[in-house]
Amino acid sequence: MNAGESLSRRHDPVKRGGMASPPLRSTRTHDALRAAYARDAQSARLYAELSRVALIEGYPAVSRTLTELAETQAMLAGGHLDFLRQVGEPLGDRRVDGTEELIRALKALLSEDLSETLPDAISSAHAEGFFDIASWFESVARTRRQHLSRLETCGEGLTTEGGE
C-alpha cells in the first residue's frame, strides 16, 4: 500500500473502485448512516450486557444467541463507519484522515464532553435529586480526563513512531 494514501481513501469502498459518487456530507443518506451506526453500536453493547444477565438468570442458550447477535451488530456498526469515515467521525463530522487527524478528532470530542456535555449532565442530575447518577457522571469525567491525557501522550509519539 502506498504510504501516502490517506486512511479514509483506503477505507472508502467507492473511491477504491475508482468510480465517482456524490458527496455524502449533509445528505439524508448520511443522516441515515449516522442513525444506523448509533443504533447498532448501542445495540451491540446492550446485547452483550444482556447476554451476561441471561446467563446469570439460567438461560445459557439465550445468552449464547445474544452474544452472537452482539458480535454481528458490532460488525454492522463497523460497516456504517466504513462509509461515515468519508465525511468524518460520526459524532461531530470531524475529519479522521489518518492517525494524526483521528487523534485530534478524538481529543476534540473528549474536550467537548469535559467542558460542556458532562458538566451539564452532572448539574442536571444534582438539580433533579439523582445524586448517585451525578457521581457516576463525575466518575465518567475522570475517565475522560485520563483518556485525554493518554491521547495527548500518544499524539506526541506520532512524529517519532512514523507510519506503516
Binding site: 451476561r52 444477565v53 446467563l55 446469570i56 438468570e57 439460567g58 438461560y59 445459557p60 435529586g129 439523582f130 445524586f131 448517585d132 457521581s135 457516576w136 463525575e138 466518575s139 465518567v140 475522570r142 475517565t143 480526563r145 485520563q146
Partner: protein, 643 residues
C-alpha cells in the same frame, strides 16, 4: 529486509514451554505455581481412581514439593516405536502419557500429557523415582534437561515419587506454594471420592484426609457454619449419554451462593456449561413447583438468582474428552455437558421434590424472601433518592438496611474490624487526653473505641436502634440521631470521628457542615473513606460498589474530600493511606445485595478493563475467590481557632 527459511526458529518442545510458560500453566505468579502442583498431584489421584493406588502423600519443604503415590509406577520399559524408556518420554516430551488412548485411565484429570513434562520444563530441579518390577529407578532433570535413568537396585513395592522445585528464573516473584490452598485441594479430592488416604506434611505439621461420605459429606462440610433450611443435603445423580452427573445441594439462610463445579475431579472455578445446566435445571424445577404450590402472587416473579440464594452445592461430572476454555481448565465449554446435567438434574430433582414437598416449600420460601429483598433493595435506591418537600432525605431505608446488617455486622466485611485500619485512624489523633469525642454514624462503635486511652469521654451517634445497642457495649454513651441534624449544640466536641459513611449520603456537604458546627474551635475531624486509586479505575470501581450498595451516592476521591472539607471551613488538612485486602465474597454476602448483582460484581472483576487493572490491584484465586486491595485514605482536618 529479506525473509527466508533461516529466519524460522524451531525450539525444542520444553524450551518452548520455558519461553512462554503462561501459555501452559496460566501465569508465572502464584496461579502458575499452583498449576505445577495440580499437574503432578492429579496424576497421582488418577492412579488412585484407576484402582491402582490407595495413598497419596504430599510433602512441602520450602519451595520443594514432593508427591508420592503407591500406584503402579510409571513404566520404565522401552517404548516400542520410539525406543526410549516410557518414564523418560513422559517427563521430557510434551503430549506423552497414558491418558490419550483411554486404556490406562478413564476420564482422567490433569492437562493430558502436557503435565509432567511442563513441570519439568519449569522446575529448577526435578526428580522422579519409580518403584516397579522389584527395582527402584530414578530420573534427574534440571530446567527440562535430563540425565539417563539410574537403576538404584532391588526394592519392594510399587509407586511413583515426583519431587520438583519451581524455577526462580521463571517464577520471579515467588516459588513457594500456598500450603493452605494445597490443603483445600487435597480435601476436595478426598470428598470427591478419591477413596484413598491423602496427606500433607508442611511447616512441621502433618494433616490427613480420608472421606467416605461423598458429595453430601462435602456439602455438609462446606455449609457447616450456615443455618440450613432443610435437614440434609439433597443428593442427585444419574447418567446421560455416557456422562455421569452427581450433585449435592443444601439451601441455607445465607445470602451468598457457593456452588463448586468439577469435571473429572478437576475444579472449574469459572464454571462453564455443566454449571449452566445445573442453574437452568434448578430454575425450571423450582419455578414449576412454586407455581404448582400457588406460592407466587400474581405480580411476583422469581429470578434464577433468587432461587439460588443461600445455596451451597457441589456438582461433579465425569466425561470423556471434555473441552475447556484455556489450558488451565478453569471453564468447561463442552456443550454436551449442559444437556446431560439439565436432563439428569431435572429428572432426579423432580423426583426428590415429589417425595419431599416440605423441602421444596422451604426452598421456594427462601427464594421468595430473596426476591422480596431484591425488590426492597431497588426501592431503597429509589426512596433514598427521593427528597420530600422539606428537603429531608428518607431515612427509613438506612434504618432498614443497617438494622438487618447489625445482626452479623462484624462478619459482613473484613475492613470493619481490621485493627491496622482502625489504628491508622487513631494514629492521627492530635487532641488532649481529656478530649470529648463524637463518633458519627458509629455503627458498632469500633472506630470510636479505637481512640480509647488517647481521649476522654466517647459518645456515639447512629440512626439505627440496633446499632445504638451494639455500640453501647463499646462507647461511653450512644445517642440515636441523624447526621444531617446532629442533636448537640455548637462547639460541643474536641474530636469528631467518622469512617466510610459520607459516600452513602446524598449531599455530603450537609453532614460535614454539621460536624464542623459541633466541633470546638481548634477541634479535629478524622474521617476515613475507601476510594479508587486514580481516575483510571474510578468509573469501574463506581460500578462495583454501586451494585453492592444501593445507597452508594458519592464516589469520593481525595480532591472531592478536600473540596468538601475546605468548603465547610476546615483547614490544616493532612492524609494517610492504608491498603487492605478485602474478601469480595464476604463483602457482597449481605442482605442489600441481590444475588444477581453478586454475579454481576464478579463479572466486573473478571472483565475489568486493562486501565483499571493497571492501577487497582486485585487477585482472582484459582478457587474463584476474589481478593481486592482496597485503598483507604484517612483525613485529618481542623476547625480554625478563630473564624
Amino acid at each position: 529486509m529479506s525473509y527466508s527459511a533461516r529466519d524460522i526458529e524451531v525450539l525444542p518442545p520444553l524450551e518452548a514451554v520455558r519461553r512462554r510458560p503462561s501459555m501452559y500453566v496460566g501465569s508465572t505468579g502464584p496461579q502458575g505455581i499452583m498449576q505445577l502442583f495440580v499437574e503432578v498431584a492429579q496424576n497421582a489421584i488418577d492412579e488412585v481412581l484407576a484402582g491402582h493406588a490407595t495413598q497419596v502423600d504430599v510433602v512441602i519443604d520450602g519451595s520443594r514439593c514432593t508427591i508420592t503415590d503407591n500406584g503402579r509406577g510409571i513404566p520404565v520399559d522401552l517404548h516400542p516405536q520410539l525406543g526410549r524408556p516410557a518414564l523418560e518420554l513422559v517427563v521430557t516430551e510434551l503430549h506423552a502419557g497414558g491418558k490419550f488412548l483411554g486404556r490406562a485411565y478413564a476420564a482422567p484429570g490433569g492437562l493430558h500429557g502436557v503435565g509432567l513434562s511442563c513441570v519439568n520444563a519449569l522446575s529448577e530441579t526435578l526428580f522422579v523415582e519409580v518403584l516397579r518390577d522389584g527395582h527402584r529407578y530414578r530420573l534427574d532433570c534440571a530446567r527440562g534437561k535430563h540425565q539417563p535413568i539410574h537403576d538404584l537396585g532391588p526394592a519392594t513395592g510399587t509407586g511413583t515419587t515426583v519431587s520438583y522445585q519451581p524455577d526462580p528464573q521463571i517464577f520471579v516473584d515467588s516459588t513457594t506454594l500456598d500450603t493452605q490452598w494445597v490443603a483445600t485441594w487435597l480435601e476436595e479430592q478426598a470428598f470427591l471420592g478419591a477413596g484413598c488416604t491423602l496427606s500433607l506434611q508442611a511447616q512441621g505439621e502433618k494433616r490427613q484426609w480420608k472421606e467416605d461420605g461423598g458429595l453430601p459429606a462435602f456439602v455438609r462440610h462446606l455449609s457447616r457454619e450456615l443455618p440450613p433450611i432443610h435437614a440434609a443435603p439433597i443428593y442427585l445423580q444419574g447418567q446421560y449419554e455416557g456422562i455421569s452427573v452427581e450433585a449435592a445441594l443444601q439451601w441455607t439462610t445465607n445470602y451468598g451462593e457457593e456452588v463448586r463445579s468439577f469435571v473429572n475431579r478437576v475444579r472449574t472455578p469459572l464454571g462453564g456449561t455443566h454449571a449452566e445446566g445445573l442453574g437452568s435445571a434448578l430454575s425450571r424445577v423450582l419455578h414449576r413447583e412454586a407455581s404448582r404450590l400457588g406460592l407466587l402472587q400474581s405480580d411476583e416473579e422469581l429470578s434464577a438468582a433468587d432461587l439460588r440464594e443461600g445455596l451451597v452445592g457441589v456438582l461433579s461430572i465425569r466425561m470423556l474428552e471434555p473441552e475447556f476454555e484455556g489450558q488451565t481448565k478453569s471453564l468447561l465449554s463442552s456443550s454436551t455437558a449442559t444437556t446431560a446435567v439439565e436432563s439428569v438434574i431435572i429428572q432426579a430433582f423432580s423426583a426428590f421434590i415429589a417425595a419431599e414437598p416440605e423441602t421444596a416449600r422451604a426452598i421456594v420460601g427462601k427464594a421468595l424472601e430473596a426476591g422480596r429483598a431484591r425488590r426492597a433493595a431497588r426501592r431503597a435506591n429509589e426512596r433514598a433518592r427521593y427528597r420530600s418537600l422539606e428537603g429531608v432525605i428518607s431515612k427509613e431505608v438506612y434504618r432498614q438496611q443497617f438494622g438487618i446488617r447489625s445482626r452479623n455486622w462484624h462478619q459482613s466485611a473484613r475492613w470493619l474490624t481490621d485493627s491496622a485500619l482502625l489504628g491508622s485512624h487513631a494514629a492521627m489523633c492530635a487532641v488532649a487526653p481529656d478530649a470529648q469525642v463524637l463518633d458519627v454514624c458509629c455503627g458498632s462503635g469500633v472506630v470510636g473505641a479505637s481512640f480509647r486511652g488517647k481521649v476522654g469521654k466517647i459518645t456515639g451517634l447512629d440512626l439505627t436502634p440496633e446499632m445504638v445497642r451494639l455500640a453501647s457495649e463499646r462507647l461511653d454513651e450512644v445517642i440515636q440521631g441523624d447526621v444531617y441534624a446532629i442533636p448537640f449544640p455548637e462547639a460541643r466536641f474536641d474530636l469528631v470521628v467518622n469512617r466510610e459513611v459520607l459516600h452513602l449520603l446524598p449531599e455530603p456537604q450537609r453532614p460535614v457542615a454539621e460536624i464542623f458546627r459541633v466541633l470546638k474551635p481548634g477541634g479535629q475531624f478524622i474521617v476515613g473513606q475507601m476510594m479508587p486509586y486514580s481516575d483510571a479505575d474510578a468509573a469501574w470501581f463506581f460500578r462495583v460498589v454501586k451494585k453492592k450498595q444501593p445507597l452508594f451516592f458519592n464516589n469520593l476521591m481525595e480532591d472531592d474530600m478536600m473540596r468538601l472539607l475546605e468548603g465547610a471551613g476546615f483547614t490544616n488538612i493532612t492524609t494517610t493511606e492504608y491498603l487492605q485486602w478485602e474478601d469480595i465474597e464476604v463483602w457482597i454476602n449481605t442482605w442489600e445485595t441481590p444475588n444477581h448483582l453478586r454475579h454481576e460484581i464478579r463479572d466486573l472483576y473478571h472483565h475489568a478493563p486493562a486501565e483499571a487493572r493497571a492501577v487497582h490491584p486485585f487477585r482472582i484465586e484459582p478457587d474463584g475467590r476474589i481478593l481486592d486491595q482496597w485503598r483507604w485514605v484517612v483525613f485529618s482536618a481542623f476547625k480554625p481557632v478563630t473564624p
